[in-house]
Amino acid sequence: MTTLPQTTNKKLGLVIDLDVCVGCHACAVACKEWNTGAYGAPLSDMDAYGAEPSGTWLNRVHSYEVKPEDKPAQIVHFPRSCLHCEDAPCVTVCPTGASYKRSEDGIVLVNEDRCMGCGLCAWACPYGAREMDMDAGVMKKCTLCVDRIYNDHIPQEDRVPSCVRTCPANARHFGDFADTDSAVSRMVAERGGYDLMPEQGTRPVNKYLPPRPKADAMPAGEGCGKHGARIPATPGGLLGWLDRALAVLD
């Protein structure tokens, strides 16, 4: 059913800490590995060993340069995946009923047996969370590793999404946002966790923690000059003579 549940008992999702993420792409690789071998059809790749390899991934890591007005630019690594929105537009636009949001835990899933591959859900998602599987002909998306988090056959510590389990920097956290006392809820409250593109009205469950302010950052413009000697604008000696000689020709 592509109408959204009024409320969900749990709001499972991720906190992604942009202060900690080192942009290693391990989460994306672990996601691809788990989801290509487990639930549903594998995540296919096209032209995997050719000149233009392209494939279906459920998690992508971008890197951005952010330039504050009065400080030098900084690099922020930015993992992007499904935010399991409360008002998920990808679900309501689906004509076949393949897309749905679970009332028990809020996870947004695709029933691949009903998906006709029209791609409208991907158009409706502002976050680029859905990618068409060009081999299977169905839409793929993050399942929040629904086949891990409730899986009694794997050790307790593995019952989190694969991306969270693998992150070497501990930049990704999994939990229930409906519980205001959960670790993820507290983290969001303490660090000012925010929604991506709130103007889209999707009410995402996943939150992003902003990079902490760089207290010791140098003012803009000083750069390395403060620390290293600069070459004088008008050199002396042989170089100076050459410079003056060239100036005649200039």
Binding site: E52, P53, Y64, V66, V91, R114, G117, E199
Partner: protein, 318 residues
């Protein structure tokens, strides 16, 4: 957005086909046997070729039957249901029209209402998407409906003239009016898109990442080395530099030439059938260009993650 040929053909042809059904349904058709059969067959041909063409862009068309199930929430599903209802109700009306030369008013009007609802739901598939600021306006359904009616009236006038029925000139006059209205709506739509950029809509890279609160955000390293599905579908780049030329084609072939030819057909000393037939053919070509631009120029919020198209309004207007 990626301008899939199947979807361009679908929205253009089905709009005209459903409009013709509605116009015949409200009693604007002729009496002759040849006219009646040609009009009904053409109405079906335009609508059904359009609908079948839309199936061509599905990756798993075998499951398309499920698309009739989610009309409670999905405009695409509503469109499917409504188009089948329209084809059915118009079919019942057409039986009486074809075999008894009788227009059953109530059925015809019902078919017309359903036809309008079908084209409206087609347009809402696009207008509902907040992710594509160009499309998210009431002007989108207005333009789809107005172009459908204009094309339908031109087709009807052409058929009336070709089969020597009464009323060809009168319908052609309505077609003229409809062309003017449709292109006025489109002009307003283009005016709006010229200033509707991702940044202006609050979906620029700074908003998409939430990093805009720290400073100016620039895409530094992409997440993958070659284009993926998202970039092909939603950060469409190919042929965008021909947008200006295509807009000229759309205006010349979709608006100016058909308008002149219809004026010639109504008031001129030429055979109206020839002028109208030519007007219709040229108009169709112009509409395909207009629809191509509708997709190709539209920017999707996802492009912001790739730092693409941040301050693009409508390319052709710059």
């Amino acid at each position: 957005m990626h301008p899939a040929l199947s979807v361009i053909v679908f929205t253009t042809l089905s709009g005209i086909g459903f409009a013709l059904m509605g116009l015949l349904g409200i009693g604007l058709g002729g009496d002759g046997l040849a006219f009646r059969w040609t009009a009904v067959v053409l109405a079906y041909a335009f609508a059904v070729i359009g609908l079948l063409s839309s199936v061509a862009h599905l990756k798993s068309p075998g499951r398309a039957i499920h698309a009739f199930s989610q009309w409670r929430s999905s405009w695409l599903s509503r469109e499917g249901v409504l188009s089948i209802l329209t084809l059915g109700v118009f079919g019942l009306w057409a039986l009486a029209y074809l075999f008894m030369n009788r227009s059953i008013g109530s059925l015809g009007i019902l078919a017309a209402v359903l036809a309008v609802a079908t084209v409206y739901s087609t347009s809402m598939i696009y207008a509902q998407l907040r992710t594509v600021p160009h499309w998210a306006t009431w002007l989108t359904p207005a333009a789809f409906l107005a172009f459908g009616v204009a094309g339908g009236l031109m087709l009807l006038a052409t058929l009336l003239a070709v089969f020597g029925e009464d009323g060809a000139r009168a319908v052609a006059q309505f077609a003229l009016l409809a062309l003017v209205i449709a292109w006025s709506v489109k002009a307003a739509w283009w005016q709006r898109t010229a200033k509707t950029t991702l940044v202006a809509a609050g979906s620029g890279t700074g908003d998409a990442t939430g990093l805009g609160r720290i400073g100016k955000v620039r895409a530094f390293e992409p997440p993958h080395t070659s284009p993926n599905y998202l970039m092909r579908e939603m950060a469409f780049e190919v042929g965008r530099n021909r947008a200006r030329a295509l807009r000229r084609v759309a205006i010349a072939a979709g608006a100016v030439l058909p308008t002149l030819l219809v004026i010639l057909a109504v008031y001129g000393p030429v055979a109206p059938a020839a002028a109208l037939l030519l007007a219709l053919a040229i108009h169709l070509a112009g509409m395909l260009a207009e629809r191509w631009l509708f997709f190709a120029e539209a920017r999707h919020a996802v492009a912001s993650y790739y730092g693409i198209g941040q301050s693009d309004g409508a390319l052709a207007s710059r």
